[in-house]
């Protein structure tokens, strides 16, 4: 059992969720990035305790190797996460240009327009 990893995963999840729940785009973005990390680590943890095992590359016979499947899964997940996060970044950029805000609460604030129109 890998307690360090479990705690790390939990910690990252917690931090990520806290960030996601905030209003600032930047924080939400960071939150999602951390969340991706956390989930990847969780899946990787499924390969078990790596102590005393070799990387999953069969170079010599007989050595115990770590489980490669979680690694492959995480690799896939990393790449997918990259695609989605990139898309999110560009979406935020677009929202910034269209709606001129960097804050989720502002974005959906009905009174914002009036407030802005009131300003010179």
């Amino acid at each position: 059992m890998i307690w360090e990893t479990a705690i790390l995963v939990g910690l990252l999840f917690g931090i990520a969720c806290y960030l996601i729940l905030r209003a600032s785009f930047v924080r939400i973005l960071f939150g999602f990035m951390l969340l991706t990390h956390a989930a990847n680590l969780l899946v990787l943890a499924m390969s078990g305790d790596p102590t005393g095992k070799e990387p999953p590359i069969v170079l010599k016979e007989g050595a115990p190797l770590v489980d490669p499947l979680p690694q492959a899964l995480v690799l896939t997940a990393i790449v997918i996460g990259f695609g989605v996060i990139s898309y999110l970044v560009i979406l935020l950029y677009r929202i910034l240009l269209d709606q001129r805000t960097t804050n989720l609460r502002d974005l959906f604030d009905e009174t914002r327009e009036e407030r802005e129109e009131g300003e010179p």
Binding site: I20, I28, F32, L35, T36, A38, A39, N40, L42, V43, A45, M46, L69, P70, L73, T76, A77, I80, G83, V84, Y87, L88, L91, L92, R94, I95, D98, Q99, L104, L107, F108
Partner: protein, 500 residues
Amino acid sequence: MNTNIVVLPLIMPMITAIVLLLAGHTSRWRRWFTGISALAQLVVAIGFITATYQLPPLFLAVGGWAAPYGIILVIDHLTAIMLTLGAITALAATVFGFVEMPVKRTHPLRSPLIQFLVTGINLSFCTGDLFNLFVGFEVMLISSYALLTLEADDWDIKEAFPYLALNLFGSTLFLVAAGFAYGIFGSLNFAQIAALGPSLAGDSRVTLLGLLLLVVFGLKAGLFPLYYWLPNSYPILPGPVAALYAGMLTKVGVYVLLRVFGQVLPTDLTLVHQCLAWMAGITMIVGVLGAVSRNFIRGILSFHILSQIGYMALAIGFFTEYAFTAAILYIIHHIVVKATLFLIGDTVAVLNRTDNLDHTGGLWKATPVLGVVFLLQALSLAGIPPLSGFWGKYMIIVEGVRLGEWVLVSLALIAGVLTLFSMMKIWMAAFWRNAEEGEGVHFQDGRWKPMTGVTVVLAVLSLAIGLGAEVTYKIAAEAARQLTDRSAYIDLLLGGGASS
């Protein structure tokens, strides 16, 4: 039977998308190509329905790696049904998009992205592997993000953010659940997990996994209280794309609930099933009340999706073969009807220049055909017999009564009445009310005729589903039977059948 044909529903849309992308900007031949491809996909899907009726599922051990180690694609009857429905919806959305918009104004990325979306949806239907399902979901979701924002204007764009954020969170949970499942079962293969289920009876970890997957799939399906991504984002989509989304996206969630709980995870997760049923019950009411609260057609229809999802999920929550049949029957009905309603909404918007019910009117006099089509679909949605929506609802009520779930049955009935109410709201405002009370009817915009034509075809289809309910029922029952016959599934994929 291990056959490469299984990969067709995935490869065809993907190749179509690639060709369209390489072709560059929009042109007439691109349209022909897209349309023919969509039609071909439909033909293939129907072929799968006939090939799996009362026959063992078709499958493919991808790369020649047999289960449980390789990724397995399985097309059983349920999958074939879903593929067919997806193909119908995609074809309708494509053709409707063509008649709605002249070639030169079309967005060049819409068709390729629709094809990618179909790829993702089909992958989710075909796969027999939990992580591959995750990948399928991702393909579907990223395409859906892309389509959602593709033609959004500078105001609508903000609705994309919550959609993205919630689904991103859901995907992460899915990944977590997939990892968890690998830890518990040591495999990601559906058949293997199903085979290992009995040996883990009573393990609370499996229940926890079930709850987690319930959240994940419930989010995709749009169950209370996980539905928030849906009602405000669908309305920003262009009509035909909205029809495709409304028809297919949440139903993928329902399908997966059906597949994973019905076939893969152990059957003794009663707690999870009860949670599902109650979430579904509340969803029905919340969804329909949301629809009542909206004042524009797309908004009303979007909320209705939720309410209807409630019925299907309720059936799955009842967790009997009969209820599964009901759920499948309901899915078949709902996909066609919901897609048609969105297309009708779009046609209304073309004729009235808006779908805001404060400004619509005069259509019953102007286009009785559209009116009849709407009425058929709306009443079907409300569950008026003998239209298609009635049978699923009826079976759900039968099963609910049999199980003594009085509260849930009452909720289902109340939701039915409220559905009728909100559909009548559209009918009265857009069709019955005088045109002078709204913005008038724009007959000179000739697109409404072919648009109505598409909806008529779909309405005939839904009418056939309803009146020919014997056939529909048999298909659904066969799908449910295959779904619940676990040992056959396991034997086929893990036994001698799968060696290559």
